[in-house]
């Protein structure tokens, strides 16, 4: 038996709610996007219900811990295959053992969540450094990204504080999602990359200066491309100005 939900975090939590109250153990809890329907399997469609979702969130918060809720959210955003199963098992164990769940590192159900979490956290930290804004005509700073995980909502608050006096857009090209900020409000919206961007007049000057800096700061006797790639994996180079 599989549960099918709308792909949102609320939808996923609703599915957890239903599983508990119907006393069922779904094999998988899958989003309805890119779903391959099979004739022989029983799929149950879960209608997203925000009050059910928030009841699940609250009870994870209170009966397990706020950190656990964060772990669950991060793992959900990893979008890794089978993460739906891992989260379900983790929550089940959590309701049994309570707030000390994250000390059960010798248990695979906990260890797996911790490992996925570490990956997501690492990408968040990397992205905070590797995002590059381009100044567009009309004084908007625009940054395209293609992260492995769906972390745009987790990195946006950092830039809201940092660039509080600046209009900016962070655009996840892979997921057609964007966070927009106009010095007052920050919103998450779907955005397809089918528009042309026009750079401001001074933008290319600063890009050249940055490339110059990047070149001249390296010590020729110590060139080490392997080390460079280890810290800054190749897949993130696409939107870097300097690479």
């Amino acid at each position: 038996m599989k549960y099918i939900y709308d792909g949102s975090f609320e939808g996923y939590l609703t599915a957890i709610y239903e599983a508990y109250y119907r006393r069922e153990t779904p094999e998988r809890i899958l989003p309805d996007t890119n779903l391959q329907e099979s004739l022989f399997e029983e799929n149950i469609r879960i209608e997203t219900n925000s009050s059910k979702a928030s009841r699940v969130a609250n009870s994870i918060n209170e009966k397990i811990s706020p950190t656990s809720l964060e772990n669950v959210y991060y793992t959900f955003l990893s979008e890794l295959d089978e993460s739906d199963v891992w989260i379900f098992q983790y929550i089940k164990l959590g309701f049994k053992v309570g707030k000390n769940i994250d000390s059960y590192l010798s248990d695979d159900r906990v260890l797996k969540i911790m490992k996925i979490n570490r990956k997501v956290t690492r990408e968040i930290h990397r992205m905070l450094g590797l995002i590059r804004f381009r100044q567009l005509e009309g004084n908007i700073f625009y940054a395209p990204i293609e992260p492995d995980f769906n972390i745009i909502t987790l990195i946006a608050p950092h830039f809201q504080k940092r660039f509080a006096d600046q209009n900016w857009v962070i655009h996840d090209i892979k997921r057609n999602l964007a966070v927009l900020f106009d010095c007052i409000n920050m919103v998450l919206a779907p955005l397809t990359p089918d528009f042309a961007i026009e750079l401001s007049k001074k933008e290319t000057d600063y890009q050249h200066l940055w490339i110059q800096y990047f070149k001249s700061i390296a010590i020729k006797n110590r060139i080490n491309p392997k080390l460079q790639k280890q810290f800054m994996p190749h897949r993130y180079w696409k939107y870097l100005i300097e690479k």
């Binding site: 000390n100 994250d102 000390s103 059960y104 590192l105 010798s106 260890l111 930290h125 905070l128 450094g129 590797l130 995002i131 590059r132 804004f133 381009r134 100044q135 700073f141 940054a143 950092h158 830039f159 504080k161 940092r162 660039f163 509080a164 006096d165 600046q166 001074k202 600063y206 050249h208 200066l209 940055w210 110059q212 800096y213 990047f214 070149k215 001249s216 700061i217 390296a218 010590i219 020729k220 006797n221 110590r222 060139i223 080490n224 491309p225 392997k226 080390l227 460079q228 280890q230 810290f231 800054m232 870097l240 100005i241 300097e242």
Partner: protein, 434 residues
């Protein structure tokens, strides 16, 4: 001269400064301006030499009145010279920051005219950034040795980190390579900055009013490795002294890159990167693992080996302290085991509250068993395979066991089974197993 050319010269001249950290300060964006620090620090890029780029690292000028033998910017060296105006630096910093290229500015300088004049120009730049442009990003400022302390005191209110580079690790080396610099002129500003930091912390503790920041990211310094005959033990003792006496946040080591030739300078083909690496490893052991310099090296053993890391080397020389039981050992002892770091030690402590840990758990937790297994027992069982034999463990843990063979032709390359023939070791093993 255009800005591009200036940037090329003045960042090229700053690249030998190893420090690029943007950590330790959590200056908040409270004035509706630009920038907000993350106390962990953020790396924004990695240059082709694999070093992190976090700050815009530049010199205000490379026109220098000093003539230090090891330095590229020495007065008698024939290189292109340039100077930034404070406005140019402010413009670059802000525009790089707005594009998320950098965490902030690292401003150093050669000595133009005299130390006070140089420091005043630098101060003018940071004042502009902080006050006129409400810039809350990270600023690391070099304190120029020999500057009036009033200038340093003022600068300290604006910047996140200050540093004075010692560069040459002993008085003799200083005399040889930088005769115009005096040890006192380097140590004095360090002591002064430290006392001001302590003072501002005290104020924060006793009064309710918001404390005035003074160099919240602390101070750091840099030592050049390999330009002088100073050995690792000297360097490490100096480092330890600096951490204790001035509460430095970091000591950086910079492998000497031969930029100039001079009769007083050694002829080095390649920068001693391996030695620099070992010193950083030892530095970590001092700061996070509770080691003392005298434990890692002594008068008979003044340099780190290139084949084995300092922690493994220490553990093998102190083999009588091991093996320790993973399920009962204290944190202080756990972190002394090669292959167990601060993180995995914490995880062990956490996980063993729930159930006793076996060998297979350790791997999942992140312990490097290749090294650790020689020094631990799990639930009373030892997994080292070759027994508590110093020589064998040493050979197992060296990066290049071939070297041993070269030095000593009696040695054979060890295979996993060759030791079984050795009755001595068998005895050792059986002792442990029984």
């Amino acid at each position: 001269m255009d800005l591009q050319k200036k940037l090329e010269i003045l960042s090229g001249a700053a690249k030998y400064d190893a420090s690029c950290s943007s950590s330790g300060s959590s200056r908040k964006n409270v004035n509706g301006g630009l920038g907000n620090n993350q106390s962990s620090g953020i790396c924004h890029s990695w240059s082709d030499d694999g070093r992190c780029i976090s700050l815009l690292k530049i010199l205000l000028t490379n026109i220098c009145t000093y003539n230090c033998v090891y330095c590229v910017n020495r007065a008698t060296n024939d290189i292109p010279r340039a100077s930034f105006t404070p406005e140019e630096i402010v413009d670059l910093t802000i525009n790089f920051y707005r594009r998320n290229y950098i965490e902030g500015l690292f401003l150093s300088s050669a000595i133009i005219r005299n130390p006070d004049y140089t420091m005043e120009l630098m101060l003018k730049t940071v004042r502009k950034l902080r006050i006129e442009h409400k810039f809350n990003g990270y600023i690391h400022l070099k304190a120029i040795p020999g500057t009036d302390s009033a200038l340093i005191a003022e600068a300290g209110q604006y910047v996140d980190r200050m540093s004075v580079n010692i560069e040459l690790p002993s008085n003799d080396s200083l005399k040889l390579l930088a005769p115009q610099k005096k040890k006192e002129s380097i140590i004095k500003p360090m002591g002064f900055i430290n006392s001001k930091i302590l003072e501002s912390n005290e104020v924060g503790r006793f009064y309710k009013k918001p404390k005035k920041l003074f160099v919240p990211g602390g101070q750091s310094t840099q030592l050049i490795v390999g330009a002088t005959p100073d050995h690792d033990f000297n360097i490490l003792k100096l480092t330890q002294g600096l951490y204790r006496r001035f509460q430095l946040k970091r000591v950086y080591y910079s492998a000497y890159v031969p930029v100039l030739s001079h009769p007083n300078l050694p002829a080095v083909a390649r920068p001693p990167l391996q030695r620099e690496h070992r010193l950083y490893q030892a530095d970590w052991l001092l700061r996070f693992y509770g080691f003392k310099a005298e434990e890692l090296l002594d008068d008979n053993h003044v340099n780190f080996s290139s084949d084995i890391d300092p922690k493994s080397d220490w553990a093998i020389r102190n083999i009588h302290l091991f093996p320790i039981e993973i399920n009962t050992a204290d944190y202080e002892l756990l972190i002394r085991v090669p292959g167990i770091g601060v993180l995995s030690a914490r995880r062990i402590i956490n996980a063993r509250k729930m159930c006793s840990l076996g060998y297979e758990h350790l791997k999942k937790i992140g312990v490097v068993l290749k090294r650790a297994r020689h020094f631990i027992t799990c639930r009373g069982k030892y997994y080292g395979e070759i027994g508590m034999n110093e020589l064998l463990i040493r050979n197992f843990l060296t990066d290049k066991p071939v070297n041993l063979q070269e030095q000593n032709s009696d040695w054979q390359q060890l295979s996993i089974f060759s030791h079984i023939a050795d009755s001595n070791i068998l005895e050792n093993n059986s002792l442990l197993l029984s």
